[in-house]
């Protein structure tokens, strides 16, 4: 795909500080994307099956294949930029093209400081400006604050995990908590076996499976006994906890007011957001010094970043007024991604942003 003058200008701004250009493959094993993002994304993936039954897909973004190359050791931990076509099936009734041009950067291995967050945001916004974007608004958030909030709330470890997972799902934290409060029945086996010590519980599980006349499948009696015991001591979070989480997710404020809004929230909820809030404030101060374009009207939203599973810190996007669901650019921190892709072999921080070249310029492709 040929770069338009707008796209070239945006890429030039990015390339200046983003190392060498990565040239990832267009074709990936579907496995890689599905393992990372789950079946929910499959309806948007261009997939096909070869003669042996193996499934392949066209890359839905540049982040995943570049991250994959770093995770596999094919590329060293460093800064990269990229430009090229990516492929996503449009939802029914949408006139979006399947193929569009993406420009972006992925920076690995800078230990993930607030200074790097600020620089990444500024580079992305300056690139959008160089690409002719006007009349657009920044929305930003910080998934690390959500995680800090979960750590500070009185929750069982299981509920902490569940609420963490729910952040990026359509059935989000609010829906999950509402459903938990509707449900009161607990199965007899949970009560009976859950009250036993582990050894007795394992024996009880084995007896129970025997009496059902079935064979154990995929999971051992030990695993099942352990989880039954956990379930027996895993009360649904208190109503007050659900309220605090709901209040947090409702938070929205201008960039200038966001630090105060979070501080007020923490005080009222009686929660110390600790290092996460300090990082947030430090980042804001650093961004203000860089004076990036579009930042004056930026809005903090606690729910920003909910659409992407791998973001775990600072997140941002830029969208034209009136088109919040068609961002020109989106980006964020994904410090856990490489460790996940490499099964722990490679550990490095990561932050990146992607610009949709077809939404650059004044018209945004419409």
């Amino acid at each position: 795909m040929k770069l338009t003058p707008e796209a070239s200008a945006a890429l030039a701004r990015i390339a200046r500080v983003s190392g060498v250009r990565a040239e990832p493959q267009a074709l990936l094993p579907a496995e890689v994307i599905l393992e990372l993002s789950g079946e929910a994304v499959r309806s948007r993936l261009c997939t096909f099956t070869d003669a042996s039954g193996a499934e392949h897909c066209l890359r839905p973004d540049l982040t995943t294949p570049i991250a994959q190359m770093v995770a596999s050791g094919e590329l060293p931990v460093a800064r990269y930029h990229g430009a090229g076509p990516v492929y996503r099936l449009p939802p029914r009734g949408s006139d979006e093209p399947v193929e569009h041009l993406q420009i972006g950067f992925e920076w690995f291995g800078n230990s993930g400081s607030p200074a790097e967050d600020a620089e990444a945001l500024a580079v992305a916004l300056e690139a959008a400006q160089a690409g002719g974007v006007t009349g657009a608004k920044v929305r930003f958030g910080d998934v690390a604050i959500y995680h800090a909030l979960l750590a500070a709330l009185p929750l069982s470890p299981q509920w902490r995990d569940r609420l963490r997972r729910a952040f990026s799902r359509r059935k989000g934290p609010r829906e999950l908590l509402a459903a938990a409060h509707r449900r009161t029945d607990v199965a007899e086996a949970v009560v009976r076996i859950g009250a036993l010590g582990q050894d007795d519980a394992v024996r009880a599980v084995e007896t129970e499976i025997d009496s059902l006349g079935v064979e154990p499948v995929a999971r051992t009696a030990g695993e099942i006994a352990r989880r039954l015991r956990e379930k027996a001591t895993d009360p649904a979070p208190a109503e007050s906890v659900a309220e605090v989480l709901g209040d947090y997710l409702d938070l929205s404020a201008s960039a200038g007011d966001s630090a105060a809004a979070l501080a007020t929230f923490g005080r009222q909820a009686g929660i110390d957001l600790g290092a996460a809030l300090e990082g947030f404030n430090e980042r804001l101060a650093l961004i203000a010094k860089l004076r990036p374009p579009f930042w004056n009207a930026a809005v903090f939203s606690a729910e920003a970043g909910r659409r992407f599973e791998y973001y775990d810190g600072f997140v941002f996007d830029l969208a034209r007024d009136g088109e919040p669901d068609r961002p020109v650019l989106s980006g964020g921190r994904y410090d856990g991604l490489i460790a996940r892709l490499s099964a722990g072999d490679v550990e490095t921080s990561g932050i990146g942003a992607a610009i949709r070249a077809d939404r650059l310029g004044r018209g945004g492709g419409r």
Binding site: A40, R162, R170, A180, A189, E208, E215, V217
Partner: protein
Amino acid sequence: MSALTLAVPSKGRLKEQTEEFFRDAGYAIVPMGGVRGYLARIPALPEIELRLLSASEIASGVIAGDIHCGISGEDLLREQAGDLERVAHLLAPLGFGRADLVVAAPASWLDVETMADVDDVAARMEVATGRKLRVATKYVRSTRRFFTEEGVGHYRIVESAGATEGAPMAGVADLVVDITTTGATLKANGLKILSDGVILRSQAQLVASLEAEWTDAGLRALKALVSAFEQRAGLHTTRFEEFVAALNHTRA
């Protein structure tokens, strides 16, 4: 295309029940015979062109608009159309061909009763073994939609060609999503239905396409058919008017 093409199941129990239903409504289905074995007619309703197809072909034909209306299972219709309401209209549940599309887990998983349990176990399995929970099914779209609504991630679909219920025992999947009438086959394969794992209570439906080319004559013939079903087969539906309204909306 004739004024009204109606596709009915060409084989199995669904064929017998459809013929029985038409007989109760006072209509005999007469196959054309010979090389045109896929065509049939109802002598009392000569304006309708009858086609004999598999239930799955009927679903895809109605969704694509190749046929005006047909009789097929709601499970097949919802599986084949991403968003059924946009392309077709369920005119009347016919009271036969009942089957539930359900999520079933190994009965030995004593700790798993609900979809929330599935998500917990799946997340744990991924952390412990690095692999996702596998779900065997022929109903790929319905499964994906339901798991998303229920907030379950960390799973992979294993598309099954046949005998889905045997997949966990064979070691190729952990859960299954399949249709069941009594649950006996699932039980015989060491599986249990989750308490909130009923995706759809399906039955045979008279379904009309919003994608097909409709003429006034075609709509009149369909209305006559629906009225006959209402009067003679004791079927209650007000959905014909809704269909016409939806059709006008689609055309506008």
